[in-house]
Amino acid sequence: MANRLAAALSEAWDSDLAWSFRHSPWAMAAAAVFLACVGAAMLAPWVSPHNPFDLAQLDLSNSLKPPAWIDGGDPSFPLGTDDQGRDILSTIFYGARISLEVGVAAVLFSTVLGVALGLVAGYVGGRIDAFIMRVADVQLSFPAILVALLIDGVARAVLPGAHDSLAFWVLVLAIGVSGWVQYARTVRGSTMVEKNKEYVQAARLFGIHPLAIMARHVLPNVLGPVLVIATIHIATAIITEATLSFLGVGVPPTEPSLGTLIRIGNDFMFSGEWWVTLFPGLALVIMVLAINLLGDWLRDALNPRLR
């Protein structure tokens, strides 16, 4: 067992992808930063000095403390506090957790939806294909943020009062639905190429169920591009979540994400409490940049033509 694992690992290590990774300092740096973000977010309850989501722990007398190294700072709040006395560092950890959770969940949702629709459109063709692609065209003409805002607004109208408790799922739905088109288009294209290949025709003659054919033969061939789209989409999803929260229609104010903190900090632009905006903003940019760099590298690495 251990041997087999070791073999698999060494095979992975020697693969093209890994080789390219080991020879791209940017990719390695980005991966390291991204892993650090994921780590901090996953371990937020344990590594954060405070729990900013527990209202009973907040104390107004701690509000708007500057970072620890500035006069008036408090070592227990390394990056200072916001107007409600929340520790900025802890809130960044917890906020990054929300961002990543929303991002990954929304991307999963998009991927499943997009890949399924793309496979069906490509494999079945005809009217179903035309219909799906027409819908895709229409949706593609609306930016994701607009679609997400619309879904959010409808959710508010349908669930008055319950919106806050469902905010997370509304965000996932809104961002997820707004992003499926790219997957569907890519998968459809590849499927149409694959389905006319001889091995698929042969499998069909053997009476294998179309679903099985799609899953076994078509899907593996489209995974590469899907992975690239998904990586970059996580970055977009995180930005969209931050934007919605910044616009005040994302997560509830008692459970701030990075976008919420930036919005709060906006009110203290003139009074000199810059840390409320700056640190969450930096965290957001660094996280998104790392994911984008990884996505760029992945695209180049998986696309031999560009090498």
Binding site: L60, D267, S271
Partner: protein, 524 residues
């Protein structure tokens, strides 16, 4: 001094150059929320009343010391204990040309007393208005009505023929968000004419060239912009895009005071900000407690009251710009009882009280809150959620702009809500009638959105309304205020200190009712 004079001269010169014919000065100002409606009786919110007072006038008005002086009535006398006679100003015309007569006054008073009116409290005690002749009106009261004249400062006069012509004899149903002609059009006798109204964007008024009065100030055009974001409001004043900000964010006051082009006029406001609780329903609308209403239990209300750290709010969110209080009214208002103390802050006692009441584990409830009405309103509410979390309550916050907010809480669609009250009459009776008296649909309890109801309190208030003996009335008011505090009818938070911030070239008169009286504003 010489520099000042030369500046004045050059400013004068510049003005003359810009506006060759006539003499025009535009006054651009901002605060966080927008005007709700121009139907003067559809809402009783002091900011909205301020704006309506530019267009619509009343029989009487305040001078700078809040003494009652003539406006549309030139003189008045009490001809019987329940009959007041008002002699109207002759030769006054509405802005659209209709002559102002006794018919308009009678019509306006009836309109203001009608079912949908939200300003009936200013006519408390008035049962009818009767025309004597074209320029004389009698008001009939049900008793002596000791503060009638002060109430009348907020009874605005509309044109009868205009209302009939535009089908607005009925008051706008604000709660249902009804849209009538009178909501965005106005036709009064006042010094300013409503020129344009873009909700959320801009409202423009121009001086009324045919106004009967002589303006003390020199503003010929008013441009009002609502700016919700605190930083944006500060930025707009610093860059000179607006001349005046009614509610500068407390955190930006040091920056504003240090700017050579800005001056800040300090002053307190006759407003208290407080939290109301639904004390009527048998089960709260927004809570997980089923089958009973925790706010009916005095101990729960006391617990909420004691768990609020008013000093912390003052020190941090308000940056010193508030005066913590436990009393319904402020010292500026007649009837203030200095013996009522700020409720003590004690988490332990509050917890014990909750336990006694059977809520040892706390409960869930939603706090409704405006986010563009009072200074840092939504932030204070957010702080309250964490203060109450410390005694085990799980409070969800629902913050929204005042235009939606008032429609919601006036419908009593709330369990826990924030409200502020500035007493327009400067007499405690107004606050007691609006906020504490049982809601009766006839003018009492119009803003008692938690439906607090205590027969003893109602009896006291009824006595206050008719008592003409001054010391006796004061004692009654004190009794009522103390009963309000003991009952924790509201969780009182603080009195706002509202400095007004403006460009150096603006001269205004700060008013404790936080109303900017445009006819006293000078743009130099």
């Amino acid at each position: 001094m010489r520099k000042g004079v030369s500046l004045c001269i050059s400013a004068l010169f510049a003005t003359m150059l810009v506006a060759a014919p006539g003499y025009a000065s535009t006054f651009r100002w901002a605060s966080q929320g927008d005007i709700l409606t121009f139907d003067p009786y559809a809402q009783n919110e002091s900011f909205n009343n301020t704006f309506n007072s530019y267009v619509y006038e009343s029989l009487v008005q305040y001078d700078k010391k809040f003494a009652v002086v003539p406006q549309l009535a030139v003189k008045w006398e009490q001809i019987a204990p329940t009959q007041w006679r008002f002699h109207l100003r002759p030769n006054v015309k509405f802005q659209e040309g209709e002559p102002f007569t006794a018919d308009d006054v009678v019509f306006s008073i009836h309109r203001q007393l009608s079912k949908r009116s939200m300003t009936k409290s200013y006519l408390v005690g008035v049962v009818d208005a009767k025309k004597v002749d074209d320029l004389t009106v009698d008001l009939i009261t049900d008793g002596p009505a000791p503060v009638l004249l002060r109430q009348l400062t907020d009874v605005r006069i509309m044109s009868k023929s205009w209302c009939e012509k535009h089908n607005v004899v009925e008051v706008q149903d604000y709660v249902a968000k009804e849209e009538t002609y009178a909501v965005s059009h106005a036709n009064g006798t006042g010094p300013y004419i409503l020129k344009s109204r873009e909700p959320d964007v801009k409202t423009v008024m121009e001086a009324n060239p045919h106004w009967w009065g002589k303006p003390e100030g020199n503003v010929t055009e008013i441009v009002y912009t609502p700016i919700k974001s605190a930083a944006t409001r500060t930025a707009a004043l610093l860059s000179g895009e607006v001349d005046f900000v009614l509610d500068p964010p407390p955190q930006d006051l040091p920056k504003l005071k240090s700017d050579p082009n800005i001056k800040v006029v300090e002053g307190t406001e006759s407003r208290t900000v407080f939290i109301g609780m639904d004390q009527k329903r048998d089960e709260l609308l927004y809570s997980n407690v089923k089958g009973k209403n925790p706010f009916k239990d005095l101990r729960v209300r006391q617990a909420l009251n004691m768990a609020v750290d008013r000093e912390a709010i003052k020190r941090t969110l308000m940056r010193g710009q508030s005066i913590p209080t436990g009393e319904l009214i402020t010292p500026e208002v007649y009837g203030y009882d200095p013996t009522i103390k700020v409720p003590p802050f004690s988490v332990a006692k509050a917890k014990a009280l909750l336990k006694e009441a059977g809520y040892a584990k706390g409960f869930e409830v939603t706090l409704d809150c405006p986010n563009d009405r009072y200074i840092n309103d939504a932030l204070i509410c957010q702080a309250l959620t964490s203060m109450w979390a410390k005694i085990g309550l799980k409070v969800k916050l629902d913050a929204m702009p005042k235009a939606q907010y008032f429609a919601k809480i006036n419908k009593l669609d709330t369990s826990l809500y924030m409200l502020g009250w500035a007493v327009a009459t400067f007499d405690a009776q107004d606050a007691l009638i609006n906020l504490v008296h049982t809601r009766d649909g006839k003018g009492s309890g119009e803003y008692n959105d938690g439906s607090y109801s205590n027969p003893k309190m109602d009896a006291l208030i009824e006595k206050i309304k008719g008592e003409t003996d001054v010391p006796k009335r004061l004692a009654l008011i004190h009794d009522a205020l103390r009963m309000h505090a003991q009952d924790v009818a509201h969780v009182m938070l603080h009195q706002q200190i509202i400095p007004w911030a403006m460009r150096k070239n603006i001269a205004v008169t700060h008013s404790a009712d936080n109303r900017l009286r445009m006819w006293w504003v000078h743009v130099n």
